[in-house]
């Protein structure tokens, strides 16, 4: 394990004196399924620093979803410690975890998970409701977040009036609205075609580059993982490989090489509804 951490630090090329944004120490997670105990994570230790863009790879059953749930403070490790900003969140109560999810984390899901019959703006506002700020501030923050994903003009559209890519951008805006330090994206391109996927990666890369947002991306697609700076590979509940992504793709450069059929489709879709 110690070796793995050493590799991590070297690969990330960050001075070891700087404290990590995320630090897992020998994290175990076991589920009781009746009589059988399933070990989803078997001693995972890793560090992620501010401003990193990490892809978490692995087949289903490798433990990457469990890792995501723990990183997202939706679940607590059975054993081991999880330090987020030097706070040991594995010891916190449910209410405190909810507060951390609200302030420090942003989630992007494969299914978008937008509330139907609710405008894009109101969807983006959702996390601010639980933050206790005034309605004026809430709307202002939501508008800013929509602007950051380039959807200001769709603020009053319902999810059903938006294309898949636009819905995922609304979801990203929702993840950004409370200005978290980390965005956790769980297969964000799983339901999108390849061009739209690259567009989503472009947004994530820009947020990472221009605003220093830390991005953790779970994916099983290798070509999507290529857009990250660093990749973790999980197998059987253990971190097997931690590498810097060789010849990393830059979405901004890839986009012009792709056929732009989707643009027309998107236009059709929004006009039709």
């Amino acid at each position: 394990m110690a070796e793995s951490i050493a590799v991590t630090m070297e690969c990330a090329g960050v001075a070891s004196t700087r404290s990590a944004l995320i630090r897992l120490e020998n994290v175990h997670k076991a589920y009781n399924l009746g009589e059988v105990q399933v070990h989803a994570l078997r001693g995972v230790s890793l560090e992620i620093r501010t401003g990193e863009f990490v892809a978490v790879m692995g087949a289903s059953g490798s433990g990457k979803s469990t890792l995501m749930n723990i990183l997202g403070c939706l679940d607590r490790p059975t054993r081991g410690h999880y330090f987020l900003d030097d706070t040991d969140v594995s010891q916190l109560s449910k209410v405190e975890l909810a507060r951390i999810r609200n302030r420090k984390l942003g989630f992007v899901f494969q299914q978008f998970n937008l509330l139907s019959r609710t405008s894009a703006l109101e969807n983006v506002e959702l996390p601010t409701i639980y933050r206790g700020i005034s309605p004026q501030e809430r709307e202002q923050h939501a508008r800013e977040a929509l602007e950051r994903v380039g959807l200001s003009d769709r603020a009053h559209h319902y999810p059903s009036q938006l294309s898949g890519g636009q819905q995922q951008r609304v979801a990203i805006a929702r993840a950004l609205v409370n200005r978290p330090s980390i965005v956790l994206a769980d297969e964000p391109t799983g339901n999108l075609d390849s061009r739209t996927s690259v567009e989503i990666m472009d947004i994530l890369q820009r947020l990472n580059e221009e605003q220093g947002l830390t991005v953790v991306l779970v994916t099983h697609e290798h070509d999507i993982a290529q857009y990250a700076k660093r990749a973790f590979e999980f197998r059987d509940g253990k971190l097997r490989r931690d590498t810097i992504v060789p010849d990393r793709q830059i979405a901004r450069e890839v986009l012009p090489t792709l056929p732009s059929l989707e643009d027309e489709d998107e236009e059709d879709l929004t006009e039709a509804t």
Binding site: L74, R117, L126, I129
Partner: protein, 405 residues
């Protein structure tokens, strides 16, 4: 999350499913409406009873021949011959709490005027009877003491009898036949409407008691004494004194039953009021069963809603909603449903009781107490039946909820 936010969320969620929300509210609307309508009918009846009793005079004391004791051999007022005019005079003389008294003998007679005839009750009494019962005679006048002394063939008509026999004609001065005897109509009484017991007080003829005793019933005794005490308290206090006096006069030994009974108007009022109150309570509780049914409707819909919105709950939790936030949200939705239903129900209840008093001409009395109770109760129904679904929502595991299909 503050309350206004939660309320806004709840309203928005309910607005998203307008048809379902209104159908769910319907149960509460019907429940609250039914409670308000039935209670207002009940209270209307109570009011009517009170009015009727007051119109008979709250100081009234009523003495009847016959025993009122349940069980044993009982003889009706008609068969008991022991109550006499002398008893009445003795009461007037020896019970100073009693100010006035009038005797009464009753019977049923066939009355005929020209080609109209009618079977009705006759009461033989004295002129002061109409004073004691504060019963005015707008047309004609009451017969006098001379008519009583001479057992004259004169009578007063209740408005029902007057209407049936005479129609629009003025009966005063006309001759009618009671049985085979011709009687002169000297007056028509004011309409008194239904009695507390529900019979028509205007379907009756009044004549001097001597006339009825001698020429119609053929008796020498009397059946009732209508007395009036100096005050309402005096009417109650007079009862034991009258009882003691009459027992002595009738030579009833201790241990034996009375052959008469004494009632005061305030006693009758109490009984009647109690009866109508029980009726109101009964109607109200039947109606509130529908409130409970409405409540289960809310619970049912909230459970469906929680299941349907499992993902939404997952998302809310992921972006920072605590268990409390989620619970509050669903609870407020349930209470908003029931509260809104309650408000509409109050309107429906008011409209319903207005319709009832209009078309069935039943008296209704809107009580603020019933409205406030219904409003509080409907909110309570929301809290009670919304709690379980809200708890269920709050206890969802966000990971499972996000994965829910």
């Amino acid at each position: 999350m503050d309350f206004w936010n939660t309320l806004r969320l709840a309203l928005r969620a309910l607005a998203r499913n307008k048809l379902r929300s209104s159908l769910t509210m319907l149960g509460i609307i019907i429940g609250v409406g039914a409670v308000i309508a039935t209670v207002s009918i009940g209270q209307g009846a109570e009011y009517l009873v009170q009015q009727g009793i007051q119109s008979m005079g709250t100081n009234a004391v009523f003495i009847a021949a016959g025993s009122n004791r349940p069980g044993g051999a009982r003889l009706g007022s008609w068969a008991v011959k022991t109550l006499t005019l002398d008893d009445m005079n003795a009461v007037l003389r020896e019970v100073p709490l009693i100010r006035e008294a009038a005797p009464a003998v009753v019977g049923r007679v066939q009355v005929v005027y020209q080609n109209q005839n009618w079977n009705t009750g006759i009461t033989g009494t004295a002129p002061n009877y109409f004073v004691i019962r504060s019963w005015p005679v707008p047309a004609g006048s009451v017969f006098g003491q001379e008519e009583v002394d001479s057992a004259a063939d004169v009578c007063l008509l209740g408005t029902t009898v007057a209407r049936i026999l005479f129609g629009d004609e003025n009966p005063v001065g006309k001759q009618i036949r009671i049985g085979n005897l011709p009687f002169r109509v000297v007056g028509v009484l004011e309409s008194k409407g239904q009695s507390v017991m529900g019979d028509d007080q205007d379907d009756r003829i009044f004549a001097p008691y001597t006339t009825v005793q001698r020429k119609i019933s053929g008796i020498t005794w009397i059946q009732f004494i209508n007395a009036s005490a100096v005050s309402q308290e005096a009417s109650v206090a007079a009862v034991p004194q009258i009882t003691a006096l009459l027992r002595e006069r009738h030579h009833i030994r201790s241990g034996e039953d009375d052959d008469f009974f004494v009632r005061t108007q305030s006693e009758v009022a109490d009984i009647a009021q109690q009866t109508s109150r029980v009726m109101t309570l009964l109607l109200g509780s039947i109606a509130s069963v529908s409130l409970i049914v409405g409540g289960t409707g809310i619970m049912n819909i909230m459970l469906v809603s929680v299941t349907e919105r499992t993902r939404e709950i997952g998302v809310r939790m992921a972006v920072g909603a605590t268990e409390n936030d989620v619970q509050q949200q669903f609870l407020v939705e349930a209470v908003t449903l029931s509260k809104a239903g309650g408000l509409v129900g109050i309107g429906v209840g008011l409209a319903g009781s207005a319709l009832i008093s209009n078309f069935l001409s039943w008296p209704t009395l809107i009580s603020i107490k019933a409205i406030v109770t219904a409003a509080i109760f409907s909110a309570g129904v929301g809290i009670f039946f919304g709690y379980y679904p809200a708890r269920k929502a709050a206890q969802l595991d966000p990971i499972e909820a996000l994965r829910y299909e």
